[in-house]
Structures are given as structure tokens and as C-alpha cells.
Symmetry: C3
Subunit: 278 residues, 3 copies
Amino acid sequence: MISPKFLGRLGFALLLAFQPTLAARYPSFGTIQTTNSSGVLNAVINNTASSTNLLDYRVQADLANLVETLQANDTDIRVVVFSKSPLPFFDPGFPDMSFPPALLWNISQIPQATIATVEGRARGIGNEFLMSCDMRFLTTSPSVLFSQLENSFGAIPGCGGAMYLSNLIGRGCTLEYVLSSTDIDAVTAEKYGWINRAFDTSAAMKEYVHILARRIALFPLAGINGTKFGVNAVSRPSKEDIVQKAQNVISVLALPATQAYVARFFEATKIRALGSWS
Amino acid sequence: MISPKFLGRLGFALLLAFQPTLAARYPSFGTIQTTNSSGVLNAVINNTASSTNLLDYRVQADLANLVETLQANDTDIRVVVFSKSPLPFFDPGFPDMSFPPALLWNISQIPQATIATVEGRARGIGNEFLMSCDMRFLTTSPSVLFSQLENSFGAIPGCGGAMYLSNLIGRGCTLEYVLSSTDIDAVTAEKYGWINRAFDTSAAMKEYVHILARRIALFPLAGINGTKFGVNAVSRPSKEDIVQKAQNVISVLALPATQAYVARFFEATKIRALGSWS
Amino acid sequence: MISPKFLGRLGFALLLAFQPTLAARYPSFGTIQTTNSSGVLNAVINNTASSTNLLDYRVQADLANLVETLQANDTDIRVVVFSKSPLPFFDPGFPDMSFPPALLWNISQIPQATIATVEGRARGIGNEFLMSCDMRFLTTSPSVLFSQLENSFGAIPGCGGAMYLSNLIGRGCTLEYVLSSTDIDAVTAEKYGWINRAFDTSAAMKEYVHILARRIALFPLAGINGTKFGVNAVSRPSKEDIVQKAQNVISVLALPATQAYVARFFEATKIRALGSWS
């Protein structure tokens, strides 16, 4: 059982005591390359051990480390921009869902603003990672597609993806897309509110996000954190809902019918795990 | 007092023991004609005793029977498509609201996906029935109109129609349409998110819904049910809210001012009950 | 500490006992000019003591008086149309947030329908006032701009503005606009659902609102009140959320970093208080 509280008291005290420089506190490590300037941290996730940049245990551990540092109310970083990130590893053969929902829950409430940019696919826990961020920006490239596809093999989005979505696009469209495990493209996703905005080119998206992130980073962290706290209180599924959901996933995955579907899914797609963001 | 629990333990045990064939379990009966194939049940409601296909006590009883069978977690049916259905009988002269809200509440949480198709009007409890389904598809025919019109005679939507709506189109537009009892057409309803999608022709709508229903029906029921459970937890009014609402309706209907409006409404419209879907 | 219960028992009893004429019950007074006809009260707020029509203590006290009369379930008034209104005074130098959130909370639940029309800017508590109304109509004039700008000086919207907004435009767009303190124009605000509708001319807006208000005013107050009760139950932040938010604002405003930002903000804008609606 992994505790959702990533930062122990000792670690917190040490951090305050020493406050190393920004570059030292946010080094590139493992699967995550970081750069930062003017209060904006850019985190590019690149899992070279996976041909599809999957969020396997390596990325998962690296992301948890990054979140731990950000949770310490570090006022030097006010915005985090994630890009090309794979997503929390989801292994139906080892259905301990405690860690992925806890990781995404923690991402949703780090004190910094979080922005995700996407130029490829985000399915399954890939989309759930996007949901846990504050904002989502895409390009209209035909390769940009999203879905919660768990239903297609008899499972359930386990980190609250469909619940977040019902705040963004309403109960009716959420059930249409999630129950049918249908992909949505960037233009339709923008029209429905699934994402914030779609741009015709990668350059246009990056310029918009750069200006937006720099502007937010001008403002004090306490206000960013307090505003997120209020908006999360009314528009995010509750922790109880997420935990209940994660328990339902474990029950459903244990059903023989689901196991048979999962096996066929993996055989057909030739991948061993769900949740990619390429 | 009708219990919201439709299925007794005895009935459930019998169903599991014998499991009759699909056609025997979902016969056409009374006001409901059923057909099914590949896990999709089509339920067409046709109340020949009413010139406006009203949801009177006959349809109400038949719908409750259908829901009872579906609640038994029957895995042979994964999707239900309702069409041309009238709606729960609403008789202000006998304002026991226990049954209609309970019926619609149960429809919102049967384990199967529910899809409503509409080619006519849905007002009052008619629209509340649509809200209790998972998805709504329309044609853009000028005769397709929706409203919650209870305010126009001093009453309140009693099965949560306006509460469901505020998740779909937001608090501001909900209050505009419901407080003014204004009809909305299919194109505007799609733009606002009141419904999932509007089609230019009946054939186009039916083809889309057929493909969608067949796709969802490929997937195991446990995942469909689990996904609905999560989305309902955050986007549906709570049972307590519905019960409170139904009690408010009874109080408001008892007011002399409302009684006078209801009498005039029925005189003007020459109908005895609210809620039609023609 | 100002009690959120504006109307004492004594006052209520007196009102019922005497019921003065409408004009006497809703006189123009201080900063508020009122006219009424056919159940619609038009309230124009004009603070001649402020060059920017700010919602200072004068307007605040006058609004509280008006709300007190409306709270008495007066069935002669069924709709209130606010226009050119400044907003609850927000003075970071005197951060007792008890009164403004209580005032806006009470506005959100007076039994009458509330409609705001805007032909200028509404920022800060200005936008929060709009959120507490049932409906919002604008013109597309370039001078019509909205924002929750508190983040820009390290504070938080204290009356639930960002929380209301997340029901209307979703969590993602809410965080984008509020965290970056960016203005939104009328056309984009309509597209997102921030407001109900934008009109090309002031005359078109006024005609629409006139017809809408007159129509709603035809219906009994009990139904209007009951419908608002239900929609508020599911789409409005809870009172606990608002109180928590207001307490967070007080904590954040006390931070030296925020104080420094506020001082610079007031110096740059040459105003002493936030929240204008001109």
C-alpha cells in the first residue's frame, strides 16, 4: 500500500532548511527532462525504454518525485507545463490501483497551475492524466485523438477520468463517448469543452501556452493555490468518489469476462499496458 | 406508497433459476412494443388509449415492469433505445409524486446504457424522462421542441428535470429556459448541450443510434454499469435532492394560486395530464 | 460580524400586517433608482459619489435593504432586472469578508428571478455579482469585458465567483481565465456559456430582457422560488464552500507578498477598491 502523502515531515523540514537552487531542486532525471525560467517549469517526459513512451513504473516513480517537490509549496515555481508525457502505468495483471489514482489526485492539487499540451494520442489513463491537470491545449493534427476506452474491454476509468469529463462536457456527451469508447478529435473536443483550445499549428499552440504560463507565473503562489482549492471543491470528483471508483475497477477486473476481454485487447493491440500519450 | 425497490427477492431468485429466452423475458406487452438483437433492446411506447400518447397509469405500469427486468443485471441486454415514448403520468389532482420520481430515478441507474430518440415534443415530465436517460438524439424537424413548463402554472419540475439540465447547459441557461417555460428547438438544444446531437433526417439519426448502440452492446455489462455509477455520482442530482424536490412540488401544488393556474392550463390545453412525448 | 439573516421576525410581521403599495415598498433611494410594472422591478444602481460607479459602502447598504424587502416572499415582484450596477465594496485594507459573500449569497436565493444586463466592464466582485444572479445578458460592444482578476495581485475571488463559473464554463476554462486574470469579451463569453446571450445592440438586448422578464412575471412566485431552490441545490457552490473561500481570502490577504501586490495594484490603477461594473 503506497501512501498518497508523498512528502514526509522530515523531507519538508530539510527542504525549507536548505532550499537548494532551482536547477538542483528540479533536475532532469530518468524519464523526465526539465527546464525552467521565470517561475515556469517545463516537464517533458520521454521514456526511452518504451517504444510507445508508456507510463510504466519508471515514469510513474519519476512523476511522483516531481510532484513531491512541487507539493512543498515552493513559491519559485508557479506553473508546470507537461508535454509529450506518457501516463501512469496501468497493468490489469497487477490491479493495485492505489498508486495511479493517488498520483493523479496529487497532481490535481499541487499548488502550482498545471498545463498539458498534446500533439498525439491520449487514451485511457492518458486522458485521465490530462483531466487531472488544470488546462489542456492541443493541435488539430489528425493524429491528436482522445478517449476513455476502458469500457471496450469491460473495465472502468479508474482515476476519475469520466467523472472529471462530466463537468467539462456534461453527463450526456460523457456517457456517449465513454460507454462507446469512441475517439474524439481536437476540433470536436474544443467545441464540447473537453479541452481548452485547439491550434492549427504546434508553433501557435506553444506561443499561446508560453504567454499564458508566463503571465500566470507573474502572480503569487498563494492566490493560485487558493483559487485552485475553490474550483476543485465544486468541479472535481471528491476523494471518496475516486476511491470508490478505484475499488470498483478492481472488482470489475477480477471478473472472468473482463479478463478474457483484456487478454484479447492486449493481443490485438500488441501492447502490454494501457495509457499512452504519444 | 409505492416502494422504489421494484424487484423483490423472490422474483430475482426465480429469474436466475429459470432464465427464460430473451424474447420471453422482454415480450411486447400493453403499451410497449419491444424488439431486440445483439444486446440492444428497442422499446417503442404506443399508448393507443390516449390520442396524445400520454404517459398515463397504463404506460407507467408497463415501464416499471420493463425496468424491473432490466434491473436484474441481465447481461444479455447492454443497451436500451427508447423511442416515441410518452412519459410518467403526472396528475396534479392526485399529487402523490412518489411513483414518477422513483421510476425515473430507477431508469437513470439501470445497468444498461439508455438512449432516447425524439422526433416530436417533450415537455414537462416528457423532458424529465429524457434527462433520466444516458443520451438524447433528435431530428431538426420544426415539430421537435422541449421544455420544462411547470413554472407556467406555478409548479416545479418534480423529478429533477431542471437539476439534470443544469449539469448539461449550466445554471444560467437552465434558469432562463425553465423559469420562463420557453420551448427550445433541436439546433439550439444541440448547441447548448441539452441533447447530444441533432440530425437533419430521421434516417440519419436512426443510423447513428443503431451503430452507437451496437458498438456499446459489444462491451461487457459490468463496465457499462460501473462507468454509469461513477458519472452519476458527480453529475446527477442526489436522491435526497430529488426527494426534497418532489416534496416541494406537493406543497406548491396545494397552494390555491397554483390550483387555479392548473385548472386554467388544463382548460386551455384540453388535456388532463402533463408530460407528453409525441 | 454582520448576520447573513437580513430580515428580523419583527420586520416580517410588520410587512405582512401593513403591505404598503409597491412604489412605497420599492422606493428609489440613495444609489438605487427603481421602477416597476407587471411584477418586474428594474433596479439601476448609480453611485454619484464615485467616478467609476464603485460598489462602496453606500451601494452595499442600499442593495442589502432591497434584498431584505425581496426576501419577504413578496408575491407582487416576480423578477428583478439589475443594470449598471456597481458591486459589493471590496477593501483589502479592511478584509472583513463577512458582508459581501453574505450579500451575494442572499441575492442568489431571493425568491424572485434575477436578471443582470451589462453594457460595460465587470471585474472582480463585479463579475461575482453577475454570477450570483440567475441570468446574464450583454451587448457585444468592445467595452464589455469580464474577469476574475484577484489572482493578479495574489488574492482569491472571495464570494464564489470562480466556483459559480466552473458550473457554467467547466473546470478547464475557469482555471485558464481566473488563474491568468484574463478579460473575456462578450462573444467568447456567450460561446463558453459564461453569460446567457450577447446582443449586437443595446436596444435588442433590452427588448429581449423586457419580454423575458414580463413572461416570467406572469407566473406564480412559489414556482419560481421552488425551481430556483432545486437548481441552486446542484449548481451553486455550497454555503460551506463560500465561507471556507472567504476565510482563505482573509489568510491570503494577510500575507506580506499579497499586501505588496495590492499596494502596487492600487497605485497602478489609481483606484482604492476592486469591483466595478460600468
